[in-house]
């Protein structure tokens, strides 16, 4: 690779000291995002995907302890920035889009005031210039009659419109990186597809880097270039989208894919795959595979020590002791689970 990636995260850990011992919601996470690329971070609740994004934004809760070998944006380290430096950076170089625009927008201020305030925090522009920029961006995100919207309050807009406003606000200062955390989860399905189109289109046109955090593999399939699957605070599989969706190599990814009913493919009432057990809380450092308790393929090597990410023949990285050409898996294991044998 010649140019450094837009965002580089290396050895990211988040620890939260609690009276009963320290929990480690994010353990050694490494990834990078190139300009113009969409990386999806996929995983279920508690896998550490949201804390990872908050760490990149400098928004971790006070109690959390962050350590990392590197977090760098455009070659500049984000480690150890002052709160004032973070405030300049957020909105200006990294923007975030949250799941629920109703809580992310201030209910007491008009849309126009909220948008121009963000811009004027970062740029020495006149009120009129800020208003023109806000109008331009509302038009850009497909909002009709933007003049009228500027004077409205968040509660007067539908959920889809509010999320469009959030996207417009994220674009105000032309950031290099946008982190979208479950941006369509609170929206209706027809609106969801439209918002995802908008994000993909903006990303294509502006060449920003996009991190899309989602639990929904359908959302990810339509938008992402690369996918990172997280489980128990670790990335367990990361690589090209179609490679991972076409043939997941980590048993957790495989379990997720088997769990989803797909109209036209799964038969009605057919017994779906599932992942047995629940996320185990392993407080200390991992001394074995983090997925071992729930894995139908687990063997003696899974318990032999912490499992590193290793390259598969197609270039993706997988954290698993099984052969990474896909062999050595007993395909009947999932079926037997389902049948309770």
């Amino acid at each position: 690779m010649t140019a450094p990636p837009l965002l580089e995260v290396r050895g990211l850990r988040v620890e939260i000291p609690l009276p009963g011992g320290t929990t480690r919601p994010v353990r050694r996470v490494d990834f990078s995002v190139a300009a113009g690329e969409t990386l999806a971070i996929v995983g279920e609740s508690g896998c550490g995907k949201s804390l990872t994004s908050l760490a990149i934004m400098g928004l971790l809760p006070r109690a959390a302890r962050l350590t990392a070998e590197a977090i760098a944006l455009g070659g500049r380290s984000l480690l150890g920035l002052s709160e004032a430096a973070w405030r300049r950076l957020r909105g200006e170089r990294i923007a975030m889009i949250f799941q629920d625009p109703m809580t992310a927008l201030d209910p007491c201020y008009r849309i126009g005031d909220q948008m121009t305030e963000v811009l004027r925090q970062h740029r020495p522009v006149s009120a009129e210039a800020a208003r023109r920029r806000a109008l331009e961006l509302l038009g850009r995100v497909g909002i009709s009659s933007p003049e009228q919207r500027l004077t409205q309050f968040p509660h007067q807009l539908s959920g889809g419109l509010r999320q469009r406003v959030m996207i417009a606000m994220a674009l105000l200062c032309e950031p290099e990186l946008i982190i979208a955390d479950e941006p369509t989860t609170a929206l209706d399905v027809t609106i969801q597809a439209q918002i995802l189109h908008l994000l993909a289109e903006i990303q294509r046109d502006t060449g920003i880097g996009l991190i899309l955090i989602s639990h929904d593999l359908g959302v990810v399939a339509g938008v992402a270039h690369r996918i990172a699957v997280m489980y128990g605070g670790e990335i367990v599989e990361i690589g090209e989208r179609d490679a991972i969706l076409g043939k997941p190599l980590h048993p957790y990814t495989e379990g997720l894919m088997r769990s989803i009913p797909v109209p036209g493919e799964t038969r009605r009432g057919e017994t779906l795959g599932f992942i047995p057990g629940t996320v185990s809380r392993q407080a200390g450092e991992l001394t074995r595979c983090g997925f071992i308790d729930r894995c139908p393929y687990a063997n003696a090597r899974s318990a032999a020590g912490a499992v590193p990410l290793s390259p598969a023949p197609d270039g993706r990285l997988v954290r698993c002791v099984l052969p990474l050409d896909g062999s050595g898996r007993d395909a009947g294991a999932w079926t037997r689970l389902v049948e309770g044998v």
Partner: protein, 322 residues
């Protein structure tokens, strides 16, 4: 043919909103004439976007609210004619969020036994046996009877909610987004459980969901709601393979596939959901409809019947799929 367990005829529900008392408010028409029939052992999937009235319809079926017009009949009698406990014997809900639908201060045994206790069914030892049996049926280990909801995972809590709903052997289970709050891998276990209970107990299920894949997986019949109306209904396969209403087609197109090579679907309906305070004249879907033409803005389409299916549209999609 199995008997009708549930029949809804011309049901409407309006709410006065704003300053109705001062004459300055409006009327919110949550349901505008709903007809549907559910037979014993059948699963009806209710789909539609937020604000379409699907949860209001569930409240009418559960007897939590009474229709403003029309009737809701459970096992041959109007819902309103039953006492609270009689109704609880007939129909039970399962809600979306198993974190808020279970009392955190009660042990699982008491939560599951509650529907029997309030009705005073059987002796204490009989109730204990019954609780054990139903917990076993929904896949909860016996030692859970002594624990509190906070000690269980989301999927286990939803199993508790299902056990509580089933313990009194109701005629109908109303599941409002039963898997939406759960993680994907857990969601499939609850879907498997509902499918098995349906098969083994002949459960009659009203399944409300915005997730069409979930509805496709469980429902025998589907009713698509839009702004207080059922705009299309029919057997699940017919609806999914050959939707006639443009709104149904748009909903189906919006299902995102997790397969490689999947692209974002093109949704050709407008983004703005109209206000239920002022439904558009004519067909309520016309402002968003890509097929709207003459008459759609003024004439409310009547239902067109086609075998066991029906739809309300002046310009339906051709029969036999798109």
């Amino acid at each position: 043919m199995p008997p009708d367990v549930l029949a809804v005829r011309g049901a409407a529900k309006t709410y006065a909103v704003g300053r109705a008392l001062l004459g300055a408010g409006g009327t919110l028409q949550a349901l505008r004439g709903i007809d549907l029939v559910v037979r014993k052992g059948e699963t009806l999937g209710l789909v539609g976007e937020s604000g379409c009235g699907k949860s209001t319809l569930a409240r009418l079926i559960l007897g939590i609210e009474a229709p403003t017009a029309g009737t809701v009949t459970l096992a041959g009698r109007p819902v309103g004619a039953y006492g609270r406990l009689e109704r609880a014997k007939l129909v039970q809900p399962v809600f979306q969020d198993p974190y808020s639908s279970l009392n955190p201060r009660m042990r699982i045994a008491r939560i599951v036994a509650a529907p029997l206790e309030v009705r005073g069914v059987g002796s204490a030892s009989w109730r204990r046996e019954r609780v054990r049996a139903i917990m076993d049926a929904v896949g909860l280990p016996g030692h859970f009877i002594g624990v509190y909801p906070s000690q269980l995972s989301g999927g286990q809590r939803q199993r508790v909610a299902i056990a509580r709903a089933l313990v009194g052997e109701p005629e109908i289970l109303v599941c409002d987004e039963p898997t939406s709050a759960l993680d994907v891998s857990v969601q499939s276990q609850i879907l498997n459980l509902l499918a098995r209970l349906k098969r083994e107990l002949g459960l009659t299920l009203i399944l409300i969901s915005h997730n069409l894949a979930v509805v496709h997986h469980l429902a025998d019949h589907v009713a698509v709601m839009y702004l207080g109306r059922i705009v299309e209904h029919g057997p699940t396969e017919a609806i999914f393979e050959g939707p006639r209403h443009p709104y149904t087609a748009a909903l189906l197109a919006s299902v995102l596939s997790p397969r490689p090579g999947a692209r974002l679907p093109e949704i050709r309906v407008g983004a703005e959901f109209p206000s239920p305070l002022a439904p558009p004249p004519g067909c309520a879907f016309h402002p968003r409809c890509p097929r709207a033409g003459d008459g759609c803005t003024s004439i409310d389409p009547e239902e067109t019947r086609d075998g066991s299916s029906g739809f309300r549209c002046h310009y339906p999609l051709p029969r036999g799929g798109t």
